[in-house]
């Protein structure tokens, strides 16, 4: 199967996944207790006012009818209006998507930049002091919750040490975003690095036992070239899968980091809309998450194939 056909098939699968997600999320969020009208009205929620809001939002209709209307709008590219902000839910999500993409993208980049050299050193110096240090120190870091790491980084680099970075916020322009997202991305990376280091180190050690490495060494290739060109390239394939799975989790799991760094990302939007029962926004966020996770796995498969010629699309 060609790459194009493979991608087309996976995208078609994505449509099915997204459809399934719409059904699941729609009925789950509507069936759990809680009422957006009562949340909005607070203690002043009289039955009359609640009824008026339900009528205005169409929540007085049976659930299947509401779902049908939702799907009718969806196929026209309309995700409905946020019940609380009275603005299109799709726009709310798309406005916040870049923040989360920056966070995940930069976080993934930092984690690779940190993990690859560390894992390579650890594998090359197996059972030596650097190996033990590299295996233990990040693992200790993994034990600290991300909100604590976030606050410590803010205290160290945004408040007490010459105020190198802003205390939260997204910044403006490419440089502004990069500046503002440095600490949040580093927090993400510090959570990923121990997992990647362990995975990559194990793969490298396995690869180092392979015949082609022995051959490369016997040909007299420099150790650095053996390590990077032959060892790392083969070992990193499994780590890409680990990274993809981690990113898949991160898509919905950046909430704490977004809160600590006051980032207007999709995680915050998701939790606030769930708590307020802002149904259209919950549905829009779930939809975007589903698409993102499927795309991340698709990209991971394509990269996997590009790095390993033995992998075929089928």
């Amino acid at each position: 199967m060609s790459l194009a056909a493979y991608v087309a098939r996976r995208l078609l699968q994505m449509v099915l996944v997204v459809f399934g997600v719409t059904i699941l999320v729609f009925f789950l969020i509507h069936l759990v207790p809680g009422d957006p009208a009562r949340t909005m009205l607070g203690v002043r929620a009289t039955p009359e006012r609640v009824k008026l809001l339900h009528e205005q939002w169409g929540l007085n209709k049976p659930l299947p009818v509401q779902y049908e209307r939702f799907m009718e709008r969806l196929v026209r590219g309309n995700l409905g209006n946020s019940l609380f902000y009275s603005v299109p839910a799709g726009r709310l999500v798309l406005d916040r998507l870049p923040v989360t993409l920056w966070l995940i993208g930069l976080g993934a980049l930092f984690s690779v930049l940190i993990a690859v050299p560390l894992a390579t050193i650890a594998a090359a110096k197996r059972e030596g002091v650097p190996d033990h240090a590299i295996r233990v120190v990040p693992l200790v870091g993994l034990g600290f919750p991300s909100f604590w790491i976030g606050i410590m980084l803010l205290l160290a680099f945004a408040l007490n040490s010459g105020r190198l970075f802003p205390v939260g916020g997204y910044g403006s322009g490419f440089v502004g975003h990069l500046h503002s997202m440095f600490l949040p991305a580093l927090t993400v990376a510090l959570g990923l690095v121990p997992i990647l280091v362990r995975s990559l180190r194990a793969s490298l050690l396995e690869v180092f036992e392979a015949d082609y490495i022995t051959t490369a060494r016997s040909k007299g290739l420099p150790e650095r070239r053996v390590l990077i060109r032959h060892g790392l390239r083969n070992a990193i394939i499994s780590t890409i899968s680990v990274l993809a799975v981690s990113i898949g989790f991160l898509v919905g799991g950046t909430l704490i980091i977004e809160q600590v760094y006051a980032l207007p990302g999709i995680g915050q939007l998701m939790i606030n809309s769930i708590l307020a029962r802002d149904f259209p926004v919950v549905q829009a966020v779930a939809l975007v998450f589903a698409v993102m996770v499927v795309l991340v796995y698709l990209i991971s498969d394509i990269v996997h194939a590009a790095l390993d010629p033995r992998v075929r699309f089928d």
Partner: protein
């Protein structure tokens, strides 16, 4: 405070002194701004919630209301002590026709931010529109028969019957004055970026992130506002707000955590304020659950709640036990109201008088993640064990909690109230008049014909002394009936940069940003 009145008064006085002392230590900004106000600059206020809407007639969220009050002003406004109203866009009012006709003289030279002069036709349009909002604040204007605009500078409001809270109602933000016919826009378009006579005008908004207002060049108070603009940002994490304040990224931190207050009071460059508020926290007891229908059981439960200990542990001492369901900052609050205070002996005596001497099981609805509420719930659970009342928690998320309390699907629960008007009527009707308030007596199902009758009398009694007597009776009966556990009064907490001057939060929660300046 049925018993131990003297002790309670002592405790209340001591806590009040602590609160006032705290404010005094930091300095009342409105009174201590010794140097001359400086024009220019921006203030950024970080808040725990984002703004939902600018539609003053339909929004119930405080974080929206406190913002839109910078744009929309009312004919009368609340005084800084929260206990009265004073002329604002009107210069005065004449009451005639047996208290049913209010003739307002409008202030001269008032213009909307679009330059259009404010006239009586705008007043008529604004109030007619506000009272037509059935799902919003329309109910507050239910005493109004009609609004007239006999000439440009006079607005007349005729009432269906004499209505004592009328001027307080007219000072409600929902009755703010906007240009007639929404200045030619649709209602929806208008409230996306409303026009008003207030010190600031809409500049920009990033939904879910920030709202920025800029100076209204046509503002009627000469020389004000001092600031060029005000920005409100949404920063949900308390620690981050605090760090942003210390880092100079924001100038005002809304509601820092109680456990940070002491630290902020001694942080260089920071002023920590505890403004007296109208917030009152309650423990709700649903009378549809048979044991809680028994007044002796309700009293017993209330006697077992150690409010002072809760205020000390949960509010770090920055609150005081409640002796009435009405807060001290509201007119006609009675400091001698015998609201039940902690007394285990009396609790046991009341329990012995009840039909449930051998105790019973009861479910307490608690908001998941609401740490203060969970802590109070645990204190109550432990305390009620000695009465053989077995409290089981039902943890639900806050939306579900709201929903179930409001629908009476609970047995014990928690809620609170902050005043919207400088008159007790809104709260009293809501809390003790099951049909009038439309909330089944604060969702408790409490019904006492005598207190309902007194509430209606107080609504139509304009004599101040007589109203005080009526509201004192209402508070006394409510305390004796123990229809809720009145828990504690707590302040509004704000930390500001020491470069911010004139920032003062009223007991109703609103603030006048036109008085604020930065050095």
């Amino acid at each position: 405070m049925r018993t131990r009145l003297a002790i309670s008064i002592l405790v209340l006085s001591a806590l009040a002194a602590v609160t006032v002392g705290t404010i005094g230590a930091s300095g009342h900004p409105a009174r201590r701004a010794a140097s001359t106000p400086k024009r220019g600059g921006t203030v950024t206020i970080a808040r725990q919630e984002d703004t939902e809407s600018f539609d003053k007639t339909n929004v119930f969220q405080n974080e929206s209301i406190w913002l839109l009050e910078q744009i929309n002003e009312t004919l009368y406004t609340v005084t800084p002590d929260g206990r009265s109203v004073k002329p604002w866009l009107a210069t005065g009012v004449k009451v005639s026709n047996g208290g049913k006709r209010y003739t307002f003289t409008l202030r001269k030279g008032v213009r909307f931010s679009n330059g259009q002069p404010m006239a009586a036709a705008d007043v008529k349009f604004s109030i007619d529109d506000a009272r037509a909002q059935k799902k919003g604040w329309g109910y507050i204007d239910s005493a109004i028969k009609n609004v007239q605009a006999p000439n440009k500078s006079t607005a007349v409001i005729n009432l269906k019957y004499p209505w004592a809270p009328f001027l307080a109602d007219i000072a409600l933000f929902a009755n703010g004055i906007i240009p007639k016919n929404f200045a030619g826009q649709t209602r929806v378009e208008f409230y996306k970026h409303p026009i008003g006579t207030g010190p600031f005008m809409y500049d920009s908004r990033v939904v879910g992130q920030s709202v920025t207002f800029k100076r209204n060049p046509n503002y009627w108070q000469k020389g004000k506002p001092y600031l060029d603009s005000v920005k409100w940002t949404f920063v949900s994490d308390q620690n981050t707000r605090e760090l942003q304040l210390r880092g100079g990224q924001i100038q005002v931190d809304e509601f820092p955590a109680y456990n940070s207050v002491k630290k902020l009071q001694s942080t260089p460059g920071v002023k920590m304020f505890l403004f007296p508020s109208t917030r009152t926290d309650y423990m709700l007891m649903n009378e549809s659950y048979a044991p809680l229908k028994d007044v002796h059981v309700r009293r017993a439960i209330s006697y077992m709640v150690d409010r002072a200990a809760i205020a000390k542990a949960i509010l770090f001492g920055f609150g005081k036990p409640a002796n009435s369901f009405m807060p001290p900052q509201v007119p006609f609050y009675d400091p001698h109201s015998p609201g039940i205070q902690y007394d285990p002996k009396k609790a046991k005596a009341e329990m012995a008088k009840s039909k449930y001497k051998n105790g019973f099981d009861v479910e307490m609805t608690v908001g998941a993640g609401a740490s203060d509420e969970n802590a109070i719930a645990q204190v109550v659970q432990q305390a009620l064990k000695s009465l053989k009342i077995n409290v089981k928690f039902r943890q639900v998320d806050t939306s579900t909690e709201f929903s179930q309390l409001q629908q009476g699907k609970y047995q014990l629960g928690f809620s609170y109230w902050t005043m919207d008007i400088a008159d007790p009527d809104e709260l009293v009707t809501f809390a003790v008049d099951p049909k009038g308030g439309g909330a089944n007596s604060f969702f408790t199902g409490y019904t006492n014909p005598k207190i309902i009758k007194l509430t209606h009398q107080a609504q139509r009694t304009t004599n101040r002394a007589q109203r005080q007597s009526l509201y004192s009776q209402i508070q006394r009966i409510a305390a004796q009936d123990a229809f809720m556990g009145f828990l504690f009064y707590s302040p509004f907490r704000y930390a500001t940069s020491d470069k911010v001057h004139g920032f003062f939060v009223y007991p109703l929660g609103n603030y006048h940003m036109e008085d604020v300046w930065v050095s």
